[in-house]
């Protein structure tokens, strides 16, 4: 009898002990050793503040991460917090497995401190926020003052024409010196679009591929001009760059082979690791012949699954993640731009020279108009493959620029854009 009582007591302790432990399962997409370390550190801090809560982090390889998430979410496998990038938000939200964060956002203090435009960007799908962005990504011009000054170039290019001129000046294949750090594979869409749209002055702020009159940019003669300019820019890049992705780009820039690079702020974290301070700087994106440049605000954040059993706790983690201190830590180490305005005030790092390119663009509304990709269009993911392949064909001389523009226009018309 005594033995039985002891066993029952032990069982009771086990049950109570287990019931106090809550486990949240979260999955990240943009996995890298550096990023995972920062993420684990933030998770530990949250766990320390919330006894009895454990967060289990799943870190699949980046290449297969989305497919894993799609399958896990569609099968309603245990998952509470899901990383969502801007380019896949609509796809995930359309599955109906992401929780609308609007009720939480309405009550949260955080909302009023979010950088303007962030929440609108998060409402890409049906005007509802299905994620809370934790960082923003805007491309700017990275340059190597030490390299370009050797060729008598100071300051860096302010216009696209200047950029091409500089790049031509810098290109000396015989000594392995080139101008532009080109991107040929792994989503090069954002790079070509920055160049091509800079030839316009009437891009729709709500869709990068439409003019303000509702017509597609690809049918406008300025698109042809922009595409031909892009081909010229490619001639100042190593030929090999048609096969370059992010890693090759960063490597070429860090080694000084290509001192001009368009990239996102998460490149900063990596460059700070491998380059000496002051050997690279940022400047606003060069303005095109249209007198403007049209960057897009990219973002990534955390969403909560609609079937999560711990929705409130998951939201508590999201709020913790976006608290000014943690957001500053995340963005500083990872290199992205914070989403909370207070971070820019409390942390002088984000006002440093490294971030000059972005701050200058944000302050110059006359020349920099932020626009959006048609991310809510089902054809978006298909577009990236078509765009990459046809663009490569144009650069290799296998396809005429006019032909590529027609293919692109037809593609988007079929997808329902530019029917006006």
């Amino acid at each position: 009898m005594k033995k039985l009582a002891i066993v029952l007591l032990a069982l009771l302790f086990c049950v109570v002990g287990l019931s106090e432990q809550v486990t949240l399962r979260m999955i990240q997409v943009f996995t890298s050793p550096l990023r995972t370390k920062v993420l684990e550190d933030i998770i530990s801090k949250f766990e320390a503040q919330n006894p009895g809560v454990k967060i289990e982090l799943i870190s699949p390889p980046y290449e297969t991460a989305y497919q894993k998430i799609y399958l896990m979410v569609s099968a309603e496998e245990p998952l509470d917090i899901v990383e969502v990038g801007d380019w896949s938000l609509s796809a995930l939200a359309s599955m109906g497995k992401l929780l609308s964060l609007e009720p939480y956002l309405a009550k949260s203090e955080l909302t009023k401190y979010l950088v303007p435009g962030v929440l609108e960007a998060a409402r890409t799908y049906k005007g509802t926020a299905y994620l809370l962005p934790n960082a923003i990504y805007v491309k700017t011009l990275f340059y190597r003052p030490d390299v370009i000054s050797k060729y008598g170039i100071t300051p860096p290019a302010r216009t696209m024409d200047e950029l091409l001129e500089h790049c031509r000046q810098l290109t000396k294949p015989e000594i392995g010196q080139f101008g532009f750090d080109f991107r040929g594979k792994g989503y090069p869409t954002a790079f070509i679009d920055i160049v091509m749209t800079s030839f316009f002055d009437d891009i729709d702020p709500n869709c990068m591929y439409l003019k303000k009159d509702g017509k597609l940019i690809f049918e406008d003669p300025r698109a042809l001009e922009g595409l031909k300019f892009y081909i010229e820019l490619f001639k100042t890049a190593p030929k090999d760059s048609i096969n370059w992705g992010f890693d090759e780009q960063v490597n070429a820039f860090a080694s000084g082979v290509t001192p001009y690079l368009f990239q996102d702020p998460d490149t900063v974290g990596l460059l700070n690791e491998i380059m000496k301070e002051g050997t690279y700087k940022t400047a606003p994106l060069p303005i095109g012949r249209g007198g403007k440049a049209y960057p897009t605000i990219g973002f990534a954040g955390w969403g909560i699954t609609s079937y999560s059993k711990h929705k409130d706790l998951a939201w508590r983690f999201l709020e913790f993640f976006n608290s000014p201190e943690i957001n500053a830590y995340w963005c500083k180490d990872y290199g992205a731009l914070p989403v909370d305005m207070r971070v820019y005030e409390i942390d002088p790092y984000f006002k440093s020279e490294t971030f000059y390119g972005w701050t200058a663009m944000f302050e110059d509304e006359a020349h920099y108009q932020f626009t959006k990709y048609p991310l809510d269009n089902e054809a978006w993911s298909e577009w990236n493959e078509l765009h990459e392949t046809t663009m490569q064909q144009v650069l290799l001389g296998k396809m005429k620029p006019e032909e590529a523009l027609k293919i692109w226009a037809d593609f988007w018309k079929k997808a329902g854009l530019g029917k006006k």
Binding site: E63, Y66, Q67, Y70, S74, S90, A91, L92, S94, M95, G96, P173, E174, G176, G184, K185, G186, P238, K239, D240, S241, I242, N243, E248, N251, A252, S255, V257, E378, S381, E382, N384, E385, E388, T389, Q392, Q393, L395, L396, K398
Partner: protein, 290 residues
Amino acid sequence: MRKRLWVLMLVPTFALIFFVNLYPLVRGGVISFQRLTVFNLNNPRFVGWSNYRAIITDPGFPRLLWNTFVWIACSVAFQFLFGLILALLLAKPFPGRGLYMGLVFYPWALSGFAIGLLWSWLLNGQFGIVNDILMRLGLIKVPIGFLSDERFAMFSVILVNVWYGIPFFAIMLLAAIQSIPSELYEAAQIDGAGVFRKLFYVTLPYIRPTIYSTILLRIIWVMNFPDIIYGMTRGGPAGATNILSVHMINIVYYRNNFGLASALGMIMTAILMVFAIIYLVLLERGEFEL
């Protein structure tokens, strides 16, 4: 009782075949007739043959087929040729053979995708060590775009695949060569046969079953092996190295269109069935028996 036991013992095998082979095949077949993208993952709809039509009428499809043919033919032919040479060289004992075999066979132990990434850096037109060596030797004046020049891209990925696949042929053929009775060579020696006669009249006929089965297996594996190309070029530049299996990954990776990818998978299965039938016919004829 004995009869029931016999049936029971077969259950695990049938269960394994069902879950590992049959179910995925049937499921893939069903999906190939559906519009199933990430946008309607829980609500697929039947679209008949339209996924198949989309693939076959794609203007790039003939090139995909040709690339796949070149990839298989060149890879398997050179893997076999060099694998045979290696096996013949390793057949006779020599000092340090164990160490040498270990070094020669190690590529087979590596992951295909990792090899692809490794070689994409080695062959990089800007920073690659291969270009550096060629330039230092004075063989070239400007770096070669191994992976960015359409003329070299397919050659480069095949070269890496050959490097990767030689050990498999060598291991298989070496095992077969070592099983040849020494009396046959002694008899050939007495008859005055030289090295080449011994090779063509003793070695090759004796290991013919191994050669047939290994080549057929490799054709199937190489066709279904996108790892190296994916790691090196993702099928580029401009589709120059795009083969069916890489294209299937790109359809899933970029478009998230599982119906289309399954249709392509079924087309690949149909092509591979031809080789499977050849294999079965040869098996039936006793070509794989010594």
